[in-house]
């Protein structure tokens, strides 16, 4: 492969390591029961995002559009907006419509709050779905920003105060359906009442159906989101976003729900940290089951350490995902040498230093793209790439193993079932990474040992 080197960096983005903000909004809305995401913009936005999500999750993903035309772009999107909402209600009868703007509606200056007010007024007296709105101009931020902004919009729009209940809110980041299921299990085992937002563990990883469901079952209910204001604590998995603007921060400021913002619980140390909070919130010790899982994980770390020590890894994806993976890699002795994210929060260096203080000499490419990374990787002499499918081209060119984790996984089945969080997630990461390294060595070894 010829890596085209930039003299002073390219102005254009070449093979982006990010998607646009409305994408994140759709994914967050998919975690609400009976919710229909609705993009205020061109038809293509919803179709492209549907296609991209379907290729990863292998599930139906319906996203409505207000379907701008030339007239709409000139005279404003109000008419199409109202017609679109009405048609979604007729066709889907959703419990919630999750509205997100796009570059087009933002650029022409459509006033969505005003349009919503008018829509509600027109339907006064009739029961209509909850309408939540988030501003996601595609020219500002990445899909991760859209995701967090939408979670904030959901709690701002729905959460209510009230008598405090001994309950914990879990605000999960952009993780897999399998991760969400595992987090729910963990919290439930402490016997504490909880709400997890956004819960797309069923909506984006559901069973086979006997008849078609226009809206898949599962998701955080509107009532559950309402109740988040009366919980005692929130655990919010976020590292690289403005921590004053998160959903958890809103719940804390507005309703006094204590917020524990922490990195994704990837690896042993971050999982310990999460369980400490659950112990404190529930007044219970960590259940035996997780103590045993932790023990097996450490045993596996020991079994694997010789094969992975000081291996050089490249990690790419969303900034929070990178932060979690780097924390894990550091604790098993793998050295992250280059990390890449299209996200550009400005916090990534600090987040990594916080979760993995032992790491040094890491090349941090935030606000960057895959081609810029290719230049760095060529210099960094890595042993393994860890991240989404989009790294395959580079892995192939360099003949390096790629461990597919995170999002999107477009060239394998099972993306939705990848487990990253908790002790179990760490174990699964360890096995995949160690075996990829062993496999690579075995393949390229002349003798072909049948023992390790």
């Amino acid at each position: 492969m010829t890596v085209i080197e930039s003299k002073a960096g390219f102005t254009a983005t070449r093979n982006a390591c990010k998607l646009c903000t409305p994408f994140g909004a759709c994914m967050a809305y998919k975690g609400v029961r009976g919710a229909m995401p609705f993009l205020h913009g061109s038809q293509g936005c919803s179709t492209y995002i549907r296609r991209y999500m379907i290729s990863h999750f292998k599930e139906p993903v319906d996203i409505a559009s207000s379907n701008f035309t030339e007239d709409t772009a000139i005279f404003g999107g109000g008419k199409n907006f109202a017609l679109g909402l009405a048609n979604v209600i007729r066709q889907y009868n959703p419990e919630l419509i999750g509205i997100a703007t796009t570059c087009l509606s933002e650029t022409i200056g459509d006033d969505v709050p005003m349009m919503l007010k008018e829509f509600r007024k027109a339907f006064e007296g009739t029961e209509i779905p909850e309408l939540v709105h988030v501003s996601t101009p595609s020219y500002s931020g990445t899909h991760a920003d859209g995701f967090f902004a939408t979670l904030r919009a959901l709690v701002e729009g729905l959460a209510e105060g009230g008598v405090k209940r001994k309950a914990v809110n879990i605000i999960s980041g952009m993780i897999s359906p399998a991760d969400i299921r595992h987090l729910k299990d963990m919290v439930a085992s402490f016997g504490i009442e909880s709400v997890l937002l956004p819960d797309y563990s069923d909506t984006l990883d559901g069973p086979a159906w006997s008849e078609y469901h226009n809206l898949p079952e599962g998701g955080t209910t509107v009532d559950e989101i309402r109740s988040m204001g009366s919980a005692t604590q929130t655990v919010e998995f976020v590292s690289n976003w403005d921590l004053k603007k998160t959903a958890g921060a809103y719940l804390e400021n507005r309703f006094g729900v204590k917020n524990h913002a922490m990195p994704l619980p990837i690896g042993l140390r971050q999982t310990d940290r999460f369980l400490d909070v659950l112990e404190e919130a529930s007044g219970m010790d960590t259940p035996e089951r997780y103590v045993a899982e932790r023990g097996r994980l450490i045993d596996a770390y020991v079994d694997a350490h010789k094969y992975i020590f000081d291996k050089r890894a490249v990690v790419f994806g969303e900034e929070d995902f990178i932060t979690g993976i780097v924390s894990f890699l550091a604790e098993v002795g793998i050295r992250p040498v280059v990390v890449l994210s299209g996200g550009n929060s400005g916090n990534l260096r600090e987040s990594i230093a916080e979760v993995a203080p032992e790491i040094s000499g890491i090349e941090i490419l935030d606000g960057s793209d895959f081609e810029d990374m290719a230049e760095e990787v060529a210099k960094a002499n890595p042993d393994i790439l860890i991240g989404n499918s989009k790294g395959y081209t580079l892995a192939r060119a360099l003949d390096l193993p790629l461990v597919r984790v995170g999002f999107p996984v477009h060239d394998r089945i099972g993306g939705a079932r990848l487990l990253h969080v908790g002790y179990k997630g760490a174990l699964s990461l360890l096995d995949s990474i160690a075996n990829a390294i062993i496999d690579h060595r075995q393949r390229n070894d002349d003798w072909g040992y049948t023992y390790m």
């Binding site: 998607l19 292998k58 409505a64 559009s65 650029t107 159906w209 989009k390």
Partner: protein, 457 residues
């Protein structure tokens, strides 16, 4: 089960059961969850396979991210088309304009990648923020000495079909700029095949075996220099008429090159395409080469097709495609496998195409234009289809209901065109319909013959 929106009912027809009146070629209904994309998508699909050109998408990053290496359009040479280039507009450019960023991006990329031409795609907000991309393209073209072609593909300015047209307009600017002195009298351009899994290469080989020179393939495995010479061909052979007829008509007007419409899907249509071209040239040697080719190819694949037919006989298919032209061939291909089409539709079919579909289809077939998941799921359940032939967005509808699926869109990795394509199509359909997994899916496991009461209700 939800009801079909009243405003959509005119775009659905049941053959033989009602007078034929089919609305189509309309803007998608807001909130209907159309399977269509946008104008940009139409342009991107058509130009994507030009492998030695730079494709720069001017706008926020999403449009480029979602179309990065999205198609299975392979190349026998350069692979520059697999790169995703975006000006990745940020808030400050939306306020102050993106022309400077576009200019700098273009200059740097052309210097670094040395493409034969550059296509600059306009996305939704480009016109609104006042960027004059045509002026920037002219300037860079003058400075760099390669064609720099604006593609006016703002997402909201029409449908995917308007995007095809914008792409053809850009290609038309290349045609006529190359030297045609060495082109044979027995020569054609292949229009409207996109080299998915090497299909254009398969078709080109057929023509070469027939003794016909292929001047340009537009756009599958496309090369800028070939397209520049396309006006030297004596005939345009157009597949996927929705996307390329516009170019063929422009070339007919300007250069007097006639065109014929063909399809390379299925035995019948592929044979007809090759014979039509041979007949056009009226050359005995070409005709005898063609007969020999068709005979050889058909006899090679027929044993397998017959084998599949034995098991597939009577199975029911649903078809949903981008353009309607392809559905004709698919219905015929399915018939050659003994199968029946019970639902057929397209995103962008024309009135004439639906009229023809009505004639071609069995009584009671559902014809549908610009449909959506609610309708499609309702129809496949009602008709109890055994396989769905469509694209990625239709696949989960089929799979959730325990219905087989065959990808006939641009993302697939296997060729479905030509004679060999019929063999792989048969294998694809057979491999899905005959899989043992369906016995476990709830819809089949519950009721006899897959018609559980729940579904009918």
């Amino acid at each position: 089960m939800a009801d079909i929106l009243d405003t959509r009912k005119a775009q659905i027809h049941r053959t033989g059961l009602e007078p034929f009146e089919m609305a189509c070629e309309k803007n998608s209904l807001a909130g209907s969850v159309s399977q269509r994309a946008c104008v940009f998508c139409g342009s991107r699909v058509v130009l994507y396979p030009i492998v030695d050109a730079l494709h720069l998408i001017h706008g926020p990053v999403g449009c480029a991210s979602y179309t990065w290496d999205i198609r299975g359009a392979t190349s026998t040479g350069p692979r520059l088309h697999r790169m995703s280039f975006s000006t990745d507009l940020q808030e400050k450019e939306v306020i102050f304009g993106g022309e400077k960023k576009l200019y700098e991006s273009l200059v740097e990329l052309i210097d670094a990648y040395e493409p034969k031409a550059a296509f600059v795609y306009s996305t939704c907000i480009v016109g609104i923020i006042g960027d004059d991309i045509e002026a920037i393209c002219r300037r860079v073209e003058a400075e760099k000495g390669i064609p720099v072609l604006p593609v006016m593909s703002e997402g909201f300015k029409g449908t995917k079909k308007d995007g095809y047209k914008a792409a053809c307009d850009a290609i038309a600017k290349l045609v006529g700029t190359g030297d045609i002195s060495d082109i044979s009298d027995l020569s054609i351009n292949i229009l409207g095949d996109f080299n998915i899994a090497g299909e254009t290469n398969i078709i080109r080989e057929y023509y070469e075996k027939m003794g016909i020179e292929v001047v340009a393939t537009v756009t599958g495995d496309g090369r800028v220099d070939q397209i520049r010479k396309a006006h030297g061909a004596k005939l345009n052979v157009v597949q996927c008429s929705g996307s390329m007829t516009h170019l063929a008509k422009m070339m007919e007007e300007k250069y007097g090159i006639p065109y014929i419409r063909v399809s390379y899907v299925g035995i019948e249509d592929t044979s007809k395409a090759l014979y039509d071209v041979a007949e056009y040239f009226g050359n005995d040697e070409v005709m005898s080469n063609t007969s020999k080719l068709v005979e050889e190819e058909v006899s090679r694949i027929m044993p397998f097709v017959r084998k599949c037919r034995k098991d597939l006989k009577g199975k029911k298919a649903a078809i949903y495609t981008g353009g309607a032209f392809k559905t004709f061939s698919l219905i015929r291909s399915l018939r050659s496998l003994g199968m029946k089409t019970v639902i057929v539709g397209s995103q962008t079919g024309s009135k004439e195409e639906y009229e023809y579909l009505r004639e071609l289809s069995d009584e009671g077939t559902i014809l549908v234009d610009d449909t959506n998941p609610v309708e499609l799921s309702k129809f496949v359940q009602e008709k109890d289809a055994d396989i769905f032939i469509g694209g990625v967005k239709e696949r989960p509808i089929a799979f959730k209901l325990g219905i087989g699926f065959c990808d006939h869109n641009h993302e697939r990795k296997i060729p479905l065109a030509g004679f060999i394509g019929m063999e792989t199509f048969a294998r694809e359909v057979y491999g899905s319909v005959m899989s043992p997994v369906w016995q476990f899916v709830p819809r089949k496991a519950r009721g006899a013959g897959g018609k559980s009461e729940e579904v009918v209700a």
